[in-house]
Symmetry: C2
Subunit: 339 residues, 2 copies
DNA sequence: GCCAGATTTGTTAGCGCTACCATATCCCAC
DNA sequence: GTGGGATATGGTAGCGCTAACAAATCTGGC
């Protein structure tokens, strides 16, 4: 029985196995040639002691840390967990491991989280968005590891980027809505000064409306958590206040779903009298009484591609910066009139 | 301008600042006495270089790693993100930082993730559930850091535990349902051989039914992702197959919400003819046309308390193991008949 | 049986930082 | 001014591991 007080080192294992520390290290990392007999001996010794290697020491000695820092604004809105899934899928096939940090949509917090991450000398950084504090951008530029900025490509990345154009996404939706004949369009979104992607969608949306001589009849913003409830309440408020509204564009599917539920309950003719659309393409929508129009944000694919980029640059040494644009598909569902 | 090729070390900063490495180290960690003048000099040098300390080296030298490993089964079902929020809230007030690992409900994967985490020598481990592989339990026992097993207290923890009794939660719900006069009760849950908490709820539920001479009319399990849709589809199937069913107990709120939406659409009298209940108390329910009966799983509180335990033991040295039981409250909502 | 070449194992020197202790500098009471 | 306690800074060793090289051991062909 090993001494439970002190934590074990390579040396403990090497003594039990009767070989040098180096040999133990080689066996445990599957590196270099070790005879099958020695390998067995070492593995048995390590197992019997319950030895867990100290990666801190290993990383310092080898100057290699197989960690990829992933910095996202939030975990609670379903979109980022899916990105993480994509990242994990790809990294699971490599020696790399994701480590997640959450910024809560706060630039200063993002800066802190980034600093913490970089202080562990990760092999790469995947970070949501293109907007960061000056200090963050400086750190990213200096870090000397592959950086991938994800979700958005409307801007200038520090290194590589994988994402969609939210401005274009907003434009496309506006186009479809106008083509379907809706004219009195309102917007309902989150009050998030730092959700640049939602902002860009709205900008694109309004720009396209303007091209058709239209302006938003109303914009309403909410803050707080329960999106479904807020969607319901605010939709009711808007439709009561402004009965001429014939389309509601939501900044995400969750509040859109709330709006949809309200409209159906209140007996509105959807999509005849009122059309609705959200954004993200969350699977939640599949279970709704009617399918909400939306656009898939390519979350899984963004995760996968960004992880692939990191993994590639990790092996092939410094590769050139790359911007990968993905193209979301408009899913008209049942809440936009078919033309 | 610093050489962009090589990453900076304490030595680089010390040379620029004209002091020893030790002094730089002290300034950057706010430890020990340093004169204000020197401190300023050092900070200026560090900032101008864009120096980011190497925690790998620091951790190895100080034998202190301010990381808390958090191992959870999934990120996608809304319950664990909230636990993480609770953990972060508490740890943000300390020097500790959470690092998340996801096991996907697979014991072997949990073992791997745990091994990886322990190899970074964290200051503590928070891990969901009481059921682990033998190897995992052995690692936890050997790790020599505070361990908190969360969510569940129906079993024997390795060290400390914070959670609720899922068996009791199941019993309580059954009691309420029977008291409300429902008799033909069906269960609808996830097909997750390793979701022990859902299993325990069902066990408690059935035990309480048995005490009243009742047995489940039907149990249906689903696998796959889209819970809302599955809830809708399976509820329809059950009610068509077995029109005598007068209550549906769901293993979580999401499929319960799907079932509720179906029942309302199909024109069932809820809760008159059919009662419904879920589990978790997710905020999604607030936006539904009718409030689904549920029980709050105390997720935020579990996160907070577990982090507090770790933080406490971290400072006060080894404290005794502790089991903290929280008590979920039944929220009858609008889908159980009032008696 | 012996040597070249392959294979397996060991030795040494740090990785970048911090603990610990030693030294230098300051400040004021007397 | 000078001693002595505080305050401020520096030197040294080593955390546990791995890269790089060195040494030892094993092949088999003649």
């Amino acid at each position: 029985m090993p001494n439970p007080k002190r934590t074990l080192t390579l040396n403990d294992v090497s003594e039990v196995a009767g070989v040098s520390e180096m040999t133990v290290s080689r066996v445990l990392r599957n590196r270099g040639d070790v005879s099958p007999a020695t390998r067995e001996k070492v593995l048995k010794a390590a197992r019997s002691l319950g030895y867990v290697p100290n990666k801190i020491a290993g990383a310092l000695a080898s100057q290699r840390v197989n960690l990829v820092g992933v910095i996202i604004p939030s975990l609670s809105n379903m979109v980022f967990p899916e990105v993480l899934t994509g990242i994990s899928e790809v990294l699971d096939g490599t020696a790399l491991q994701p480590v997640v940090g959450v910024s809560n949509y706060l630039p200063d917090r993002e800066e802190t989280v980034l600093y913490e991450m970089l202080s562990w000398r990760p092999s790469g950084i995947i970070i949501a968005g293109l907007e960061h504090t000056d200090a963050s951008r400086a750190m990213l530029a200096q870090a000397n590891v592959p950086i991938v900025e994800i979700m958005d490509i409307d801007g200038t990345p520090v290194d590589s980027a994988v994402g969609i154009s939210h401005r274009r996404a907003g434009r496309q939706m506006a186009e479809a809505i106008v083509a379907a004949g809706y004219r009195n369009i309102a917007f309902l979104g989150t009050q998030m000064p730092n959700d640049h992607r939602a902002r860009k969608r709205l900008e694109g949306f309004e720009a396209e409306l303007a091209r058709h001589g239209l302006t938003l009849v109303e914009r309403a913003f909410y803050s707080g958590s329960s999106a479904l409830l807020k969607g319901r309440e605010m939709t009711e408020a808007i439709l009561k206040r402004n009965p001429s509204v014939d389309f509601l564009y939501y900044s995400n599917d969750m509040i859109g779903a709330g709006g949809l539920l309200y409209c159906l309950e209140a007996g509105y003719d959807v999509p005849g009298k009122i059309g609705l659309a959200g954004f993200n393409g969350v699977e939640l929508l599949d279970g709704l009484p009617r399918k909400l129009a939306t656009m898939d944000a390519c979350r899984l694919e963004i995760g996968r591609r960004s992880a692939e980029l990191i993994s590639l640059k990790q092996t092939n040494g410094k590769a050139a910066p790359e911007v990968i644009e993905l193209f979301p598909v408009l899913q008209p569902g049942d809440t936009i009139r078919r033309v």
